[in-house]
């Protein structure tokens, strides 16, 4: 597998991280090295193995349907970048 500068830019775009041309080129070199390491996985045939998502084979525990939270708006919004009238403000959302 060969990564390109365009791949780097595409994934930076998906991840919403601004990246300029020279950063993209530098990142490409590093990521290519890391993917060479990652590619060693492909030498092993694991086609018949079940993927393992969790360390323990336990199942989801369920919460009773009860309201346990109280209004913490003031506290939570005391650390917000920009609020008004109880709302979090962001640059205009265009739909």
């Amino acid at each position: 597998m060969t990564l390109t500068v365009n791949d780097v830019k595409r994934i930076a775009d998906l991840a919403y991280i601004e990246i300029n041309e020279s950063e993209a080129k530098e990142t490409l070199i590093q990521l290519s090295g890391i993917f060479n390491l990652i590619e060693t996985m492909q030498a092993v045939d694991a086609s018949t193995v079940e993927p393992m998502s969790h360390a323990q084979s336990v199942v989801q525990r369920l919460r009773e349907d009860e309201v346990t939270e109280t209004d913490q708006r003031e506290l939570c919004q005391s650390i917000a970048p920009q609020v008004e009238a109880g709302l979090y403000l962001v640059p205009q959302v265009i739909e």
Partner: protein, 482 residues
């Protein structure tokens, strides 16, 4: 006093030979004196710490104290603590005063310990040298030219330099054990699911596990008694009977079968580390243990598998840092998308961005099966290797790290070399097995060497027994750089 064990501090507090306020003040003074050099703490808040100490003194006076009441504990800055700046080593959270307590912080508060400060760490726990912290690198107190390891580098440094009697850490690929080894202290990552992840800022959810870092196995046992416990707010927290992790410390080791994976004793381990490990194994032979060669055929896969799964989970876990509800927001931007992109480009450091990009890529359309699913399949093979090995032995040992602490700056420009520092440790995260590191001597440049002990699931008490018995006949854990 700053060299005292937790048990000693506990009895001095109980016998009123010292107050928590005095003890806390002493450690705060040490931090004031030494932290400018080591940079082990990001935040110290004397007012809160002393208020907690006074509250602890009241508990002690009223006879309601537990074993750790009044003892100062350094908390890794990954644990949200109400009213404390909680940065996770990142510029992104440089203004984040947590409105809530992590499960671990709650348990320590209930135990009446004192939060002595928030320790430095690699940004979002991504690093093995503590050099990725936005708040500056941490020095290894044994040799200030060396890294302390990471990501819990501030915690390891604080304990080694006696700036705190004990500390908390978190371990996603070795972040408790590797800095413990490099700083000559003891640290344990318990079985996945024993320590609540609620309020522990997520790096890779299926691998992250909190644990204690301290001078000795005995101290770790007392700390685990506080840290371990079911938390209904964490879906992956396990509901189990309460254990006393100190119950088996005194058990003799005669007949213990120690598995030595041949893959861990092959090329890669440096000579100085190897000889320290061999000497430690000799001590275990003297204690009556039997050495058995075992094999973990897929051991070499743990690094590539880890560097697919951890970044994949991280890329998603770190999407919440968008400058909308808390944390850093870029000063100027043209529109919403630009605000996101600039906020995240400015708020995250280079290593974090690198891992987000790796993770985004391996999850993206067309690559998911080849990378993410493949890595999850290999994860199972790695776990099966351990299951097979535990048919032959009780416990597994090897080196925690391939070399002693490297120099500051030595690997910071080479991510792959840095990633390979986790070569022996990441398998325990992939499998969820408990693992610990204890100091077993010194290697090149008189830098500490750690012995890696990997137990079977839920065998923490046995591991602590195995570590404690070694620490009864050796004194590496008592040595300090200060």
């Amino acid at each position: 006093m700053f060299n005292a064990s937790l048990k000693q501090l506990s009895s001095q507090l109980a016998e009123k030979k010292i107050s928590s306020t005095e003890l806390t003040t002493e450690f705060l003074n040490r931090i004031k004196k030494f932290n400018p050099e080591y940079n082990a703490f990001i935040t110290v808040n004397e007012d809160i710490s002393l208020a907690q100490a006074q509250a602890a003194d009241k508990m002690l006076a009223s006879g309601q104290a537990g074993p750790l009441t009044g003892i100062p504990i350094a908390q890794k800055d990954i644990f949200c603590a109400k009213g404390w700046l909680t940065t996770c080593g990142s510029k992104m959270l440089s203004n984040f005063i947590s409105p809530y307590d992590a499960g671990v912080i709650e348990r320590f508060n209930q135990a009446g310990t004192v939060n002595i400060g928030k320790t430095n760490m690699d940004e979002f726990a991504m690093g093995s040298s503590n050099e990725t912290s936005f708040y500056g690198l941490v020095k290894n107190p044994w040799d200030v030219a060396a890294v302390p390891g990471g990501s819990s580098g501030g915690a390891a440094c604080a304990v080694a330099a006696r700036l705190a009697p004990a500390a908390t850490g978190t371990d996603t690929g070795g972040s408790i054990r590797q800095p413990a080894a490099l700083c000559g202290i003891s640290g344990i990552k318990p079985t996945y699911g024993l320590v609540s992840r609620y309020g522990m800022i997520a790096f890779a959810s299926s691998l992250d596990q909190g644990g204690p870092m301290a001078k000795s196995a005995e101290d770790l046992a007392l700390l685990l008694n506080v840290m371990v416990g079911f938390d209904p707010r964490d879906s992956t927290s396990l509901q189990r009977d309460v254990e006393d992790y100190a119950r088996d410390l005194q058990k003799p080791l005669a007949g213990l079968r120690i598995g030595l994976p041949k893959e861990y004793f092959a090329e890669g381990m440096s000579k100085d580390v190897e000889s320290a490990i061999e000497r430690a194994l000799d001590e275990y032979r003297k204690l009556g243990a039997e050495m058995i060669e075992v094999s973990l055929p897929n051991a070499a896969l743990s690094i590539p598998v880890y560097y697919v799964l951890a970044p994949a989970e991280a890329s998603s876990n770190l999407s919440r840092f968008d400058g909308v509800r808390y944390g850093h927001r870029a000063q100027s931007y043209s529109d919403l998308g630009d605000m996101y992109r600039k906020t995240r480009a400015q708020g995250f450091g280079a290593e974090v961005k690198r891992r987000i990009l790796i993770g985004t890529y391996v999850l993206s359309h067309g690559y998911y099966d080849a990378y993410y699913i493949k890595a999850q399949k290999l994860r199972r093979l790695i776990a099966q290797d351990f299951t097979a090995a535990y048919q032959q032995c009780d416990i597994i040992m090897g080196p925690t790290t391939p070399t002693v602490a490297f120099n500051l700056g030595e690997k910071s420009g080479d991510p792959i070399q840095m990633y390979l520092s986790d070569i022996y440790t990441s398998a325990a995260n992939l499998t969820g097995l408990p693992a610990m590191s204890i100091p077993v001597g010194f290697g090149d440049k008189n830098r500490p060497v750690g012995l890696h002990i990997i137990g079977n699931y839920f065998m923490e008490a046995q591991m602590l027994n195995v570590a404690h018995q070694y620490q009864q006949i050796t004194d590496w854990h008592l040595q300090s750089p200060v």
